[in-house]
């Protein structure tokens, strides 16, 4: 495609009408909860935009984020985004390898200086000079610094890039850090998830193209359109939570009846993501609909929050005398409470029963 050509001209040359843009932006408005009346104006802007150069850097990651963005598409509506961007470097997807691949990255940076978007998946190890992850002999840290220098914006996709994720999990042997800790002076958008919902990634890129600006972000740098509400807020099982109907185990009557999974460790109440509305695998289902609690994968340090099956109401540690004093409770009461909690947990482990809210309330 010629560099001066607009996206509208490009699709027209392929015999695709402007209706495609209107259809795409109607979908985008739905995805991002934008006022539906904005779709026609967005379609006009998108048709006038040039193809966006994207350099995709993969560091300490598992390729799950790339799987998510590429595997979910067939050549229809959702596929259009790949016509709107020019993926100039992605070492998993590109045909070139070795030095030729690195030259492609350098060429894209030179041709689109100040205009290209850098997408990063994976965290960056900084311990011992960043030697724990290198590509073509270049450390991740060095590659990030030189690639980001002349970019327009940075999108950190996946929990590893957004917060350090699993490489950052305790004891973090490589000193893995989030992209936002290393990139200064450039806008950074975080799209966390393990992996992120594909529409959250493509929708954010399309928003950048349509409006030429960043979408509204929350305090953790996440687009509010996809991360503005908790899983719990939009969960179809929420009415059972309100009525106090909880599954106590994964094979009990409550689980079979589709009751709330709070007491078997669901992290929905503290997790902000769009799984409950956009769902996965073409809108088929999401973890809670499939009978498993939310792991909280789009939140920082989800791996170190004390266990996926521990109810949120369970203290992370046993109540110790020190903690009890610090909390302003008498030492004797603290000791008693700590002993009681330990006894409940020991009993629960023995009988393979989950500690419930009721247990805790009775013990306090």
């Amino acid at each position: 495609m010629p560099a001066h050509e607009t996206l509208g001209e490009m699709l027209a040359a392929r015999g695709i009408s402007r209706r495609a843009f209107l259809k795409y932006t109607s979908w985008l408005a739905t995805l991002m909860a934008l006022p539906p009346g904005m779709a026609p104006a967005m379609a006009e802007e998108l048709a006038k935009a040039k193809r966006q150069s994207v350099i995709w850097l993969s560091f300490q990651e598992c390729t799950g984020c790339t799987e998510s963005i590429t595997r979910s598409f067939s050549p229809t509506l959702e596929d259009l985004i790949f016509n709107f961007i020019s993926l100039d470097y992605h070492h998993t997807l590109q045909a070139a390898s070795g030095e030729a691949a690195e030259h492609a990255r350098e060429a894209a940076m030179a041709e689109n200086k100040g205009k290209y978007v850098v997408v990063v998946d994976g965290s960056v190890p900084v311990k011992d000079g960043g030697i724990y992850s290198t590509i073509a002999g270049i450390s991740n840290l060095q590659m990030l610094e030189e690639t980001v220098a002349d970019s327009l914006a940075v999108i950190a996709v996946g929990t590893c890039a957004a917060y350090g994720g699993i490489p950052h999990a305790n004891p973090n042997p490589t000193g893995a850090v989030a992209i936002s800790e290393l990139v200064k002076g450039k806008p950074v958008i975080n799209i966390p998830g393990c992996p992120p919902i594909p529409e959250a990634m493509t929708g954010t890129i399309a928003y950048l193209l349509s409006f030429g600006k960043l979408p509204d972000l929350d305090t953790l740098g996440r687009p509010l359109a996809f991360f503005g509400e908790s899983i719990h807020d939009r969960c179809y099982r929420r009415p059972f939570y309100e009525r106090g109907l909880f599954a106590k185990d994964f094979d009990d009557e409550g689980a079979r009846s589709g009751w709330c999974l709070f007491e078997v460790g669901c992290k929905g109440p503290i997790t902000y993501n769009a799984c409950a509305t956009l769902k996965w695998n073409g809108g088929v289902s999401f973890p809670i609909q499939s009978g498993h609690g939310c792991l909280g994968c789009s939140e920082p340090d989800f791996w170190d929050k004390g266990g996926f099956y521990r109810p949120l109401s369970t203290p992370l540690r046993d109540i110790t005398p020190t903690a009890a004093v610090a909390a302003g409770i008498g030492a004797a009461a603290g000791l008693a409470a700590g002993a009681l909690h330990r006894a409940i947990k020991k009993d629960a482990a023995k009988n393979h029963h989950t500690v419930t809210v009721d247990n805790l309330e009775k013990s306090s």
Partner: protein, 151 residues
């Protein structure tokens, strides 16, 4: 995929009549506005927690109108006027033919049915080119019939 492995959980299929009534009330207010001032409106159905039962109830309340159109662009889209003139039900389908966007449009005609000026201009050029090619082809055919004919 859904047919071979149905996933149904309690609480999913029961509808909320109040939500359907609220949508109809909003559509009525927008339609009154369209009649008085010509101002158009849209209600994004995909953004609302509607169950299949809710949608069926809404479809029944709005009824079927005289126009049904299908658009084939990056997948399928359907546009249908409801039983209330000016209230259109627009559905855009994504991969696996699932609904990606669903909007009630309160307008004389949904914009996606109109031909875009850029497409019209391109079509005019293309049709002109076709006519030129056809004329040249016709001239060549005459020459072949009458080899002694002048230019």
């Amino acid at each position: 995929m859904n047919e071979s492995l149905p996933i149904t959980c309690a609480g999913e299929t029961t509808g909320s009549g109040s939500l359907v009534r609220a949508i109809v009330a909003e559509a009525a207010a927008l339609l009154a506005g369209l009649a008085e001032t010509g101002e158009t409106g849209r209600i994004d159905l995909a953004g609302l927690p509607l169950t299949e039962a809710d949608k069926a109830a809404l479809e029944e309340l709005l009824g079927a109108g005289e126009v049904v159109a299908e658009i084939a662009v990056v997948g399928r889209s359907t546009v249908a006027e409801t039983g209330h003139a000016g209230v259109w039900w627009v559905r855009h389908y994504g991969s696996d033919d699932r609904i990606a966007a669903e909007v009630l449009e309160i307008t004389r005609i949904p914009e996606i049915l109109l031909s875009h000026p850029a497409d019209i201009a391109a079509a005019a050029r293309r049709l002109g080119d076709t006519l030129g090619t056809a004329s040249a082809g016709a001239t060549d055919a005459i020459k072949e019939d009458r080899p002694d004919a002048g230019p």
